[in-house]
């Protein structure tokens, strides 16, 4: 399990042009912090070499494991090869494979698929890819978000009866933009139906990108949607309404950034200043203020696998052990574990309605104690799936084992109205 993962564990990410084996970039982190440490060229060459060797024999080499390191390879469109090496324990292949998918998505998002599959000038491509480094590094770091792993959009839930959703829809109509959302520190607070229909990975990548950028009053970025529009760029407009809270529009040539001037924004959003302020505070807490949670809960991950949204927080009793970073690691590793071994992979598309209804009757659960064996110690981790919802909880060692299932069931029931 991941709790063993030492603080000094390193992750190296390599990107190469598949045909020539020329390295396009390398990014590294140690203990979740970006480092400049580079792998020797000979190592890079060998790693790529074994993969190519397999390919020439029609053997797909996808992963390998040594005592302390896991390596995962993945080729994209026969043009780009990504390789990740991780010595941070608890990295199942699933985790690393999804990391590579996210990284390639980030490259497409900022550079476009055309440039990546039809490489004419390697030096120019290298230069262009520099713009995606900070986004890629954020996947290697200790993010507060989890959408990279769950492939579900990180959300925060506005207080009940919040007027923001309606205001957002009206704003979208007035600006004739179907794709509009409000994003709080990388998490979606409210979005139009159009925005929710965005495919994977862009639905996860766009808010993530915003969470990774330094604050700016406004932005007008060309973005390629890896799923929806990988070769024709759209425009991502962002407007800071409050520090930490951004209004995002995904659009074509219209509206111009200069048309969304402060007067226009003020007339739309000034009346909602109070609910907006309250929402900024939600951030890492994700749940509406005062949402009742059992006191043993130290961390929570709720996924809706059909809507592809998730809620992730490790804030409850934040002053207690373990640290927030450690809590996130525990839940991430637990998620990888249950997803790759206990629960079947997420249903891609909802199956027939009757099936879903039937499944709803059959909750499936598993639990795990991490750490020392003695009774009363070790963090408890529970996972429960009911219908399209999956709940993972991190609980304090005091929480009695026999009560875990009912605690999880009750918590899931309480959370169900949220989404």
């Amino acid at each position: 399990m991941g709790e063993e993962r030492g603080p000094g564990g390193a992750v190296h990410l390599l990107c190469l042009a598949a045909s020539s084996g020329v390295p396009l970039f390398c990014r590294s982190s140690r203990g979740g912090v970006p480092t400049r440490q580079q792998l020797p060229f000979s190592v890079i060459g060998s790693l790529n070499g074994v993969h190519m060797f397999g390919q020439n024999l029609d053997v797909q080499l996808s992963s390998a494991r040594t005592e302390d390191t896991t390596v995962v390879w993945k080729s994209f469109h026969d043009s780009i090869t990504l390789i990740v090496l991780s010595s941070e324990g608890g990295h199942s292949e699933l985790k690393l494979e999804r990391l590579l998918q996210m990284v390639f998505g980030a490259m497409v998002l900022l550079v476009g698929l055309e440039e990546l599959t039809n490489i004419r000038n390697i030096e120019r491509l290298k230069k262009e890819l520099r713009a995606s480094y900070h986004l890629i590094d954020s996947f290697l770091g200790n993010s507060e978000l989890i959408g990279d792993l769950t492939q579900c959009v990180d959300c925060v839930i506005p207080p009940e009866g919040s007027p923001l959703q309606e205001a957002l829809s009206n704003f979208a109509k007035a600006t004739r933009t179907a794709f509009v959302s409000l994003v709080v520190s990388g998490r979606v607070l409210a979005a139009t139906e159009g925005w929710w229909r965005l495919g994977t990975p862009e639905a996860v990548l766009l808010p993530w990108l915003l969470g990774s950028l330094p604050p700016q009053t406004a932005r007008d970025y060309p973005v390629y949607l890896p799923h929806g529009s990988p070769t024709v760029p759209h425009r991502l407009l962002t407007l800071m309404l409050l520090p930490g809270l951004e209004l995002c529009l995904l659009c074509g040539p219209q509206p111009l950034l200069s048309q969304l001037d402060p007067q226009l924004l003020e007339s739309w959003w000034q009346p909602l200043l109070e609910p907006l302020r309250a929402s900024v505070l939600l951030g890492p807490g994700a749940l509406p203020a005062g949402f009742p949670l059992h006191e043993d809960i130290l961390g929570l991950l709720l996924l809706h696998l059909e809507l592809r949204r998730c809620l992730f927080t490790v804030e409850p009793s934040g002053d207690k052990e373990p640290s927030l970073v450690q809590r996130r690691r525990l839940l991430r590793s637990f998620y990888s574990l249950v997803t790759s071994t206990h629960f079947p992979p997420e249903p891609g598309l909802p199956e027939k309605v009757e099936d879903t209804a039937q499944k709803a009757q059959v909750p499936r659960a598993c639990y795990l104690v991490s750490g020392p064996e003695e009774p009363g110690t070790g963090w408890r981790l529970v996972a429960l799936q009911v219908g399209p919802r999956r709940l993972l909880l991190l609980l304090s060692p005091q929480s009695p084992t026999h009560g875990l299932r009912s605690l999880a069931t009750h918590t899931l029931q309480a959370l169900t109205p949220l989404f």
């Binding site: 900022l110 230069k127 262009e128 520099r130 713009a131 480094y133 900070h134 330094p214 604050p215 700016q216 009053t217 406004a218 932005r219 007008d220 970025y221 060309p222 760029p233 425009r235 991502l236 800071m240 309404l241 409050l242 520090p243 930490g244 040539p253 111009l256 950034l257 200069s258 402060p262 924004l265 003020e266 959003w269 000034q270 200043l273």
Partner: protein, 257 residues
């Protein structure tokens, strides 16, 4: 553009260091942490769009704006800011108070800096016009450590002068802290000044002192590095507005040569 005013003729020099000036700045420091709406901080607010220009990548556009912005938003959040290639247009609002010589009125300037990454400029045709259409001022950046960026200035100036004859133009030499390693000697600067008669400023956009927590930038410490740029920009913009409104005679030398 009208002939530039003599430094200190429009605005009270070093007013930001006076007790009164500090009071205004303190008010911004407090307010901008919490507020983005309700920007009317003073009865007179002058709103301007400033477009940042620089032919070469990495001349320091992003760092300049970040410095000005951080200066007035000294929250720990910003400590993690690192310059990075930008993938499109980004705008940053900076408020700056200044006192007029003539009327002793305090004017709150709201500078909206528009910055566009070079790779986006070359890849997408709509970017450049978008960055220039509303601009009241153009800041042309070159880097003291990059001769090519200095030599590109005339080409850049020529391009913009045709587009926006009425806009304020200023030249800013960045990375002045690296002056020991400069590729742009003083005599070249003098020649450039004589040829173009444009205000020329030097900046160092390196992080200022940090507060005791080791993270938060000390807003006041950064002031000395940035105040002259913001003051000069304010002075030229105010002067230009007066000329445009016919309140000041525009002297004959102003016709472009």
């Amino acid at each position: 553009m009208a002939k530039p005013p003599a430094p200190g003729s429009v605005l009270v020099p070093d007013w930001h260091e006076s007790a009164e000036g500090k009071e205004y700045l303190r008010c911004i420091l407090r307010k901008s942490r919490r507020r983005v709406f309700g920007e009317c901080l003073s009865p007179v607010t002058s709103v301007t769009c400033c477009s940042l220009q620089g032919a070469e990548e990495s001349v320091g556009k992003g760092s300049l704006v970040a410095k000005a912005h951080k200066l007035l938003l000294p929250s720990p959040h910003h400590a993690k800011w690192l310059p990075r290639p930008s993938t499109g247009i980004q705008t940053t609002v900076v408020f700056w108070p200044a006192k007029l010589q003539a009327s002793s009125r305090v004017v709150m300037f709201r500078f909206e800096f528009w910055d566009c990454g070079e790779s986006a400029l070359t890849k997408f045709d709509h970017m450049l016009p978008a960055c220039q259409e509303k601009a009241d001022a153009f800041l042309f950046l070159f880097s003291f450590t990059d001769r090519a960026s200095f030599e590109d200035l005339p080409g850049q100036l020529a391009r913009v002068t045709g587009e926006a004859p009425g806009a304020v133009k200023m030249v800013i030499g960045s990375k002045f802290d690296q002056y020991m390693h400069t590729d742009v000697p003083e005599q070249d600067l003098r020649a450039f000044r004589q040829a173009w008669e444009l205000p020329l400023l030097r900046v160092k956009s390196v992080p200022g002192r940090r507060l005791a927590d080791g993270r938060t930038l000390d807003g006041w410490a950064g002031l000395a590095d940035m105040a002259h740029v913001l003051n000069s920009l304010a002075e030229h913009l105010w002067h230009q507005d007066q000329v445009a409104a016919g309140l000041l005679a525009s002297s004959p030398e102003n016709t472009p040569d």
